[in-house]
Amino acid sequence: MNRTDIDRVLVEKLSAQSAGCELRPELTQAIAERIGRNLSAVRPLRPFGYYAAGFALIFLAPIVAALGMLSTNGIARMSPAAIVLAFGALAICAALLAVSLAADMSPGSRRPAPSVVLTGGILLSLAAIFCVLLPYRTETSFWVQSGLCLQLGVVFAVPTAALAWGLLRRGAVLSPAMSGATAGLLGGLAGLAVLEIHCPDHNLPHVLAAHWGAALVCTAAAWLAGALMETRVRRA
């Protein structure tokens, strides 16, 4: 039995009528009346690119602010190849997240990858890039330095994620948990970029715990907030 045979069987079975599956006309009428009662004109969402550009700008805003407010010791200590690789990877990841977030605003939109895959993939690839690029050395003040950097990263990441969530809410979010995680990661990447520019400590444990850690913390917190919101909405 090949595909054509199976298709033929399915079509035959589909076209066979059954009283059990016919739509009651009164149901269609009731639905039309119910939604027709509150009918008012709405302005549709703007084109996809408009929101994708909006998310990209939200990602860039804290980085531009950090360039004005903080020192650029981190980027000064990086080799040109490391700058291209690290910031190129960050730019690609941010662009993918911006497109994914713009897709989240309208159900059934085309997206680069499922949100779970995208979020997990980005976090893992960045960790892999850092592992390949950065040296491993033991530090004397690891916890203090990492704590300060983590704090700074989160300070830049949280408002970025909140702004992204604000823009996201202009559309229809079906899964607040995953959309929240995506917005959180966009904020986290902004925080990570700020730390890469500012922090001169490019030791692997420090970068993973504090810089990459800021992105991870922000993603997890945003996912949790979204999941709580989802549960509350479902129970209501």
Binding site: M1, R3, I6, D7, V9, L10, V11, K13, L14, A16, S18, A19, G20, C21, L23, R24, L27, T28, Q29, A30, I31, A32, E33, R34, I35, G36, N38, L39, S40, A41, V42, R43, P44, L45, P47, F48, M105, S106, P107, G108, S109, R110, R111, A113, P114, S115, G171, A172, L174, S175, R234
Partner: protein, 178 residues
Amino acid sequence: MSRYQQSDPAAPDALAASISPALLRFFRCNWASRDLAEDLLQETFLKIHRMRRSYRPGEAVLPWVYAIARNVRVDNYRRVRRIVEHEAAADVLPEAAGRNDGLESALEFDALVAQLPDAQREVIVMLKAAGMTVEEVARATSSTVGAVKLKAHRAYGSLRALLTSRAPRRIGKQEAAE
């Protein structure tokens, strides 16, 4: 859909009449009883109404509608599961809402695809009953075209096994009747 967004009074009727049968079948094929399927259909339309702003004119309507319908189905599944979990300690457990009832009276198509795993069934119903393309199914399920093709391929494998195993059984029954 664009007329609906612009509050054309005839649009709700047209929308309900055009997509309701396929949506009802979508819910029926996913183990819902007739009553539950009708409830889910109404819930889907309320959600469509609330989210009508998020439809971008010029885009395909079916992926947008089915993404919402799928979300309603998943929400319902989680709600039912939570209720069943919370009521597990009761002496007499109520029947899970319409899991199997009406299966015999349902269309043969529904009964056949009901035997597929959830993910494969969803893809086959969208492809065959709703007439969507692979690309549209991928968009509705927040998946990729490759993943949808893989699920469809596996579903065809399962259907082949089901259909070929059914045929001899029917013959056997006929022989026994004779």
